[in-house]
Amino acid sequence: MHGLIREEHSFGANPGSKDLARHLYTRMACGKVVIVAANPASLLASLRKQWLKLARKVSRERASTLNAVHIYELNEAVTRMLTLRFTTKWPQDDYPADVYIVTMEQLLRWAPECRTLYVTCDVGREQLYLATAWMPRSSLIVFCKLS
């Protein structure tokens, strides 16, 4: 974790996958994303729902503006959003997805080379050091405990 940017969020009173989706929106063009969760399957379901809701918001925003710059950029964003691949399968060599939702035990078997790592559950400090060993310098690690 030595060369990483560390970010901590409480995301308001009821932190959930909606806030995670909004944060992910700002990082979706920064390479692969890994999310550490206690229960990847349930987080995948709720995050995907919030992600598609956000994609619809982007589409609505695009439809409601006459600004050509906004139309172009929002169109690029929604295209990227709808082609982003989410998976709970690991290791990543066999599954060329963009967003991996996995448990810490899975990460310890195969450390990720992602540019963004979200930690949504309690993890040990030494586990975190091992899991972030292959992340490029100045990558982002976000601690956001979800309720």
């Binding site: 308001g12 806030d19 700002t26 690029e76 964003a77």
Partner: protein, 91 residues
Amino acid sequence: MAITKLPPNYQLPSPLTCAICSVDLTLDKATAGLFDADNHQAFACVSHFSEVEKLLLGWADFTDRERREYLNRDQEPDNLTYGGDNAWLDT
């Protein structure tokens, strides 16, 4: 809370400004977003997460500025599409 730690010898832009609203930022109110055309990390106010329209349009303006910067340099806007250097090391 927001950014709590940076890598050693990390060169923060001075002054640190929000990529969305351009106000001066402190790290305790900042979030890390995209990379700019110079491959530097761009930061934004954490408060924009609660106002989704501003977040969407703000990032649209930011990516447009950076895309034009790339075009002025006759480069492909890789950072805006795939991430910066080493972003896809594993593929």
